[in-house]
């Protein structure tokens, strides 16, 4: 079987998958994961899941909703990251920019129009009471391009996330984070309706395994970080992994799978504000929490 996991091997949103594999959680439950299909996130991950026929995929909430809207027969079966606390903007250490208010009249980068980064950046600015237009928003495509522009002085704050930040400790200072926003469900787990029908037990086992891995991450962050570094191999050093995982544990980054409907609504709301979604939604048709461990299902 295979699993689609956006940014697997690069970012920490799919760290539970790595821990689960390393600790044999899948095998324990009779599932043989021979491939974790990573990708650059967004709609690509969702597309990849549909194209590969993988049973379970970890993708951005917005992408899952877009695929659903287009008519693809998918179900959201778990909530994976329910906080925005891993996203923050940094400035150069000597710039004196330490809050969102310091950015009035300055330039801030985000990745792509209609991406999560744009959505939340706008929401954060609005929540800080800064009128639209006072901060110039620049879309630079990739996080790396934003950081490069920051160093060059073309923007005064740029988006960063973990473990990139841990890998660059001391290089930048945090300009602002998103703690003034409500919790939103960033990342969800999806499956195709077909797979859900044919292999409900497998799906249950996968979700259980993931849950066990999340528990382990919270209980033994250092050991778990080492496992993540091992699974990500050449892409993540142990040192950085430990620092990053510890931060993530602090911000209660990984969800165990259960849904936070307020977080889903908040995400949908911001998508509406951005123009990526219109009309109502029938969550019951999109979400199926029946494959989650019993204690995580909605009553």
């Amino acid at each position: 079987d295979s699993i689609v996991a956006s940014h697997y091997g690069f970012l920490l949103n799919t760290a539970p998958i790595a821990v689960a594999i390393e600790r044999g959680e899948f095998e324990k439950r009779g599932i043989n994961i021979d491939e974790v299909i990573s990708s650059s996130g967004g709609g690509t991950s969702m597309r990849n899941q549909i194209a590969s026929g993988a049973g379970y995929g970890v993708v951005g909430t917005a992408a899952a909703l877009a695929a659903y809207a287009e008519g693809h027969d998918i179900k959201i079966v778990s909530a994976n990251v329910m906080t925005l606390a891993d996203l923050f903007w940094v400035s150069m250490p000597d710039s004196g920019i330490k809050s969102i208010q310091d950015l009035r009249g300055k330039k801030v980068s985000y990745t792509k129009p209609r991406s999560t980064s744009e959505t939340v950046l706008k929401a954060a600015i609005a929540a800080a009471g800064i009128p639209e237009g006072e901060i110039e928003l620049v879309s630079l495509g990739k996080i790396g391009a934003g950081l490069a522009a920051l160093e060059r002085g073309d923007v005064q704050a740029a988006l960063i996330l973990e473990p990139l930040y841990s890998g660059r400790l001391g290089k930048y200072q945090i300009a602002f984070d998103l703690s003034n926003l409500p919790r939103m469900t960033q990342t969800v787990g999806v499956t195709t309706a077909e797979f859900a029908k044919q292999n409900p037990d497998k799906l249950r086992a996968i979700l259980e395994a993931r849950r066990a891995a999340v528990d382990y991450l919270y209980e033994h962050p250092v050991e778990a970080a080492k496992l993540v570094a091992k699974a990500y191999g050449e892409k993540l050093t142990e040192e950085v992994a430990i620092s990053a995982v510890q931060r993530m544990v602090e911000i209660d980054y990984w969800g165990r799978g259960g849904f936070d409907m307020a977080g889903m609504d908040a995400m949908l709301e911001s998508l509406r504000a951005q123009g990526s979604w219109d009309g109502p939604i029938d969550w019951n048709d999109v979400i199926d929490d029946s494959f989650l461990p019993k204690d995580l299902q909605a009553k």
Partner: protein
């Protein structure tokens, strides 16, 4: 009377489109994957009503235009310079030859830092992609100018500049036009591809956006727009070419000997290569000082990263995955291309009908094929092999086709005179006679196939070097991106160097 090849070609294309339409309408192909052609047209018409669309389109067209004009002009001038300085040319030849194997998308952050965050960086990507096609074609054009024309220029007491403008330029024109067509294809691929992967505006971005946002109809409408744009631009160049009448005279059809610079001693050759290597590192270090580590890590930093990277076992897993995909794609591209090319060359009629299609494919930005590839090959290994093979098979086919067509007809008559059977003629005449060109084709096809595999891996893959680079771009692990790029570069240049020396040896005989 038999129908003309153009008629047949058109009929074939039309029926292919109609077949597609029928399959879509009948539901054999799901609308979630491929949109019916008629729907593409209506979507595109709808799109054309949006102001936003034209904002993107104009931006892209302008970027393409600037990129190809710059690439054409500078490519010509650099080609001229290298022609005049044969030692520089020889030292840089392997680099130029393997240029197209390098995934230079990794240099995008570098471009941003150097020129700032604007369209110029996109233009630079298109320019960088197209430039070398112009350089190589300028060189082949200049190489093939009969020396007697330059002598004629001197006999009219013309200066260097006059000779360059009034004789060398028009005499090389047929090749320059070939170069221009390639520049067009590569320039578009570079601009649209960069927009697709990296940018935040333009048609390429719109396609990526629609792709990610699951707006299939919109995406196919935009793809149709790109195809129309390619067709219009290509036709434009072709009309210009016909008008200008810069076509070679009958006397030039005889292929002139390749210009091979004399055999210098091994010491000078090594010296030249060393000089190029030193320059390379000097420029690298210099750029690093200017732009900083987030855009370009220094050679030392990169080396440190490379050492740890190369020490991990899983890294070599990626390497072997890429090599395996490359190997299979190369086998398909080389043998498939050679077989198709020979068949088309052998069968005049089929050649007349299908060869122009390959020429057109050559200049289509293959990124546009990606969604279609996904449809046919799914995700992962098969898709990237297919992507590599599709890139490589086109030049292989075209060069083999031309080589087969230009086999000395006397040799074929000789075969008939010796009462050889068709298979005998094929094995004892056609194959050996085209081998030097087949090696050239293999060399070019190697680079392009490699690039195809890399791009395939960057889009959708689980493993492989392209996948690592893509991840590197995502999290800005510059030192890793650069280490892998350098590794790929060294590999591509070595293979190319080998093929090049084989190529030169075969062409010398």
């Amino acid at each position: 009377m038999r129908a003309s090849s153009t008629t047949i070609r058109t009929a074939l294309l039309v029926s292919a489109v109609l077949l597609l339409e029928a399959l879509c309408r009948a539901g054999v192909i799901s609308p979630l994957q491929l949109t019916a052609p008629s729907k593409m047209v209506t979507t595109l018409i709808g799109l054309m009503g949006e102001a936003q669309f034209w904002g993107h389109a104009i931006k892209t067209v302008r970027n393409i235009f600037v990129a190809i004009v710059l690439a054409a002009v500078l490519g010509f001038l650099i080609g001229l310079l290298l022609y005049r300085l044969p030692r520089l040319r020889r030292a840089t030849e392997p680099i130029i030859a393997s240029y197209y194997a390098l995934p230079f998308f990794v240099l995008y952050p570098l471009a941003i830092v150097i020129v700032g965050m604007n369209d110029i960086s996109i233009v630079i990507m298109g320019f960088a992609y197209a430039l070398v096609a112009m350089i190589t074609n300028t060189l082949s054009g200049l190489d093939r100018i009969p020396p007697v024309l330059s002598k004629t220029g001197r006999s009219f007491r013309m200066g260097r500049l006059q000779t360059a403008v009034l004789i060398q330029l028009p005499a090389a024109a047929p090749y320059l036009f070939t170069g221009l067509k390639l520049v067009l294809g590569y320039g578009m691929a570079g601009v649209i591809g960069s927009e697709f992967i990296l940018s935040t505006s333009g048609i390429g971005y719109s396609i990526a956006f629609a792709y990610e946002g699951f707006e299939s109809e919109r995406m196919y409408g935009l793809l149709l727009f790109v195809i129309l744009m390619v067709t219009i631009l290509l036709t434009g160049v072709q009309i210009f070419e016909k008008r200008s009448q810069f076509t070679a005279g009958a006397s030039w059809n005889v292929s002139t000997a390749r210009k091979i610079t004399g055999d210098e001693s091994l010491v000078t050759r090594v010296g030249e290569v060393a000089l190029v290597v030193v320059c390379f590192f000097a420029i690298w270090q210099g750029l690093h000082y200017v732009v900083g580590s987030e855009a370009l890590t220094s050679p030392m930093e990169t080396w440190d990263r490379a050492r740890t990277l190369f020490a991990t076992e899983s890294f070599w897993g990626h390497v072997s995955e890429t090599l395996r995909a490359l190997g299979i794609a190369l086998i398909i591209a080389i043998f498939g291309g050679a077989a198709i090319g020979m068949f088309l060359g052998f069968n005049r009629r089929a050649g007349e009908i299908f060869a122009p299609m390959f020429v057109a494919l050559q200049s289509t930005p293959k990124v546009t094929l990606y969604p279609v590839m996904l449809l046919f090959f799914g995700l992962g290994f098969a898709a990237k092999v297919a992507f590599g093979a599709i890139h490589g098979i086109i030049p292989m086919t075209l060069i083999t086709y031309n080589a087969t067509r230009s086999i000395n007809p006397t040799l074929i008559r000789t075969a008939k005179g010796m009462r050889l059977s068709l298979p005998q003629t094929f094995l004892t005449i056609f194959v050996p006679a085209t081998i030097p060109e087949l090696v050239t084709a293999t060399r070019l096809s190697f680079s392009i196939t490699f690039l195809g595999v890399m791009i395939g891996e960057m889009f959708a893959s689980v493993r492989g070097l392209g996948h690592l680079i893509m991840g590197g771009i995502e999290v800005n692990d510059v030192s890793m991106m650069i280490s892998i790029t350098v590794l790929i570069g060294v590999f591509a240049i070595s293979i190319n160097g080998l093929l090049l020396s084989l190529d030169n040896r075969l062409h010398r005989r």
